[in-house]
Amino acid sequence: MDSTNRRNLIWGLAAATLALLIVGLFVWQRSRGPEAPGSAAPGRDGAIVPVPGDTPTGPPGERPVLTPSPATSAELHVLLGEEAVPVQSDVVVEALEIEQPWVCAGEPVGLAAHVTGGGPDAVQRWIWRTTEGTVALQPGSALAWPTPAAPGVYRVFFQVCTDLGGRRIGVLASRALDIEVRACDEPAAAVRIEVSQRGQGVYAFTAVVADEGAGAGITDYVWDFGDGAQLTTTAPAAEHTYAVAELGPADVAHFAVTVAARRAGAEPLTGTTAVLVRGMPGTHDPGPVLLEVGRWQHDPARNRWTSDIQVQVREKGPIVWERLERFTKYFDDRTESANLDWREVIAVDESLAGGGFRGQVLVPDESVPPEVKQIIDVLHGRASDGAEVTVSWTPFKRAPASPGDAGVGQ
């Protein structure tokens, strides 16, 4: 890293820290659940009783007038047609996080709650009074709150609840947050991050700079994926895989992703986004080998397509690879197959333990005329216990013939 880049990085980190400090994004609080079981709110007669935790979180100072009418969580429970019962628990709302002390009308604002305690039956939710007079509800710890069009101060509640049967719910913890909404005409974020999920925990990110002029001098992009991983790219795109296996089957984790587009002699442009990652039940058996295959690339000098490949033997090694079966699929639905010497199809760069290897899969240009839709390779081998082992992949695929069918590309 040269001195300019180092200076820009330091500036970026300092700016980020300063922003956090000045704007006071984190509003730390500790909110224990109701201490007195039975002080229901509302009671069966519909009387509204304050619920601990209704004291709003927000900037210090004079309490503003709420829009629409002032609301307590108890009032919202009534409007939701539910009977809320405070329940003693170990649940603690450690923090409610909001983007900034006030937000622009009509722009969604992100809210996130940090909670400790609670069992598998604990339900996290946000509730708030809408300008139409109804009560909106969103489950989960994160919320993109649909900021009203009219300026004012609005109150949003975060609650951790549990079902008690029928329309009764137990409130394990509750916390209010007042959000000031102002009419404003502020510029958009310097960098917008587009997110595209590509599978379980796999995300592709693209940084889009709002001001093309400001983006002209960008030297590189420093990505922080929110899970401790960072990456620097010269192109405005990055991909990251989150450790989904560490999540329980019912867990949802959210990560803040930031990018700093560094510019020579100028402040970096920054942007942020979030991804939600959810665990799932089941145990995935990857089989005796671990396969990694890269995207195919054309090698015009040698008139062929190549894909990086790595086969690692996990168990049952050594595995002796015997043949490679190559299927060629055509757009007219024909399929041809051929048994090939696997070492003629795969150029091995390095042999790995147990019969594993690292190299490139080769597809000659003459094997993929325009009418070919896809190649599928199946590598057959024999494990030490005599069992057949197969791994398969695609080393070439062509986009759909119809121009309107975009999305699959070579």
Binding site: L20, V23, L25, F26, G81, E97, I98, E99, C104, E107, P108, V109, G110, A112, D121, V123, Q124, R125, T130, E132, T134, V135, L137, P139, G140, A142, A144, W145, I169, P187, A189, I193, S196, Q197, R198, G199, Q200, G226, P249, H254, A256, T258, T270, G271, T272, A274, L276, R278, P281, H284, V293, I376, V378, W393, T394, P400, S402, D405, G407, V408
Partner: protein
């Protein structure tokens, strides 16, 4: 949106900016869906509401031009996740008759999707979808997708909306489902192939009418006869797609998946 600081809250807002346009679906039921009247599977949800939710959020599928296995007889199950969160899950059993993939062919194809939806202020909103894609195989590409990572066709169906019925992509012949063409393109070591060739509702014939299997605890439908063949959807046995050719294997059944996801 103004220049953002590095906070999760801000990030959530930016990633879900489209929530401002969210309008979900009106299915004719509200949180009266939680009811013990007319509750044949005794799961605390009104049967009529289960039917309406399953129909309303039933996914749309894009198939590739090379698809040779459209045949299916979908069913569904619904369960309450919580009343406090006004959330239910809908398990869509695709029940394709066969997988005609070059290297994977088998009778029966037990791919599935789970839609997690919640009720708020008069409408139901899709929060998450689990899309099976060769689940528990060596190239398992299944995933949970939050609502902002799914596509919604509101152009050809004005009744649909953002956070309503999702549009999915079914891999050619193998029926693994994905949120986008790009995700499909990389699925199963890039072997899956999707395109926008043919567009169908998951159940284009009956709209899932009368296809509620109940739950593993209280099955409403188990045995299903079709074309002189029988399948037992709720039992832990192979799913043969109402077929049983000697030259190819059968698919695993739905019961393990139902168990794992608590249906």
């Amino acid at each position: 949106m103004r220049v953002a600081a590095f906070s999760i809250a801000c990030a959530v807002a930016m990633s879900m900016a489209s929530v401002a346009q969210a309008d979900g679906l009106d299915v004719g039921y509200g949180d009266d869906c939680w009811s013990t009247t007319s509750d044949a599977d005794r799961d605390g949800l009104h049967d009529g509401c289960e039917q309406e939710l399953a129909y309303s959020f039933m996914p749309l599928l894009w198939f590739d031009s090379g698809e040779s296995g459209y045949g299916r007889r979908p069913h569904f199950a619904v369960k309450s996740k919580s009343f406090a969160g006004r959330t239910v899950q809908i398990f869509y059993m695709d029940t394709f008759f066969e997988d005609t993939g070059v290297t994977t062919g088998h009778d029966g194809d037990a791919e599935f999707q789970i839609a997690e939806v919640h009720f708020s202020a008069g409408r139901w909103y899709l929060d998450w979808m689990y899309l099976s894609a060769h689940r528990n195989s060596v190239c398992d590409s299944s995933a949970w997708y939050s609502y902002d990572q799914l596509e919604y066709d509101t152009a050809s169906n004005p009744q649909n909306a953002f956070r309503g019925r999702a549009t999915l992509y079914a891999a050619e012949d193998k029926h693994a489902t994905y949120n986008t063409l790009g995700t499909c393109d990389s699925g199963c070591y890039a072997q899956d192939y999707c395109s926008r060739h043919a567009y169908q509702e998951l159940d284009a014939t009956t709209g899932l009418e009368g296809r509620n299997v109940g739950s593993t605890a209280v099955p409403l439908i188990d045995r299903v006869d079709l074309n002189g063949k029988t399948e037992y959807l709720m039992q832990d046995r192979a799913f043969k797609g109402w077929d049983d050719q000697w030259y190819r294997p059968n698919s695993g059944g739905y019961r393990p998946h139902l168990n794992e996801f608590g249906f």
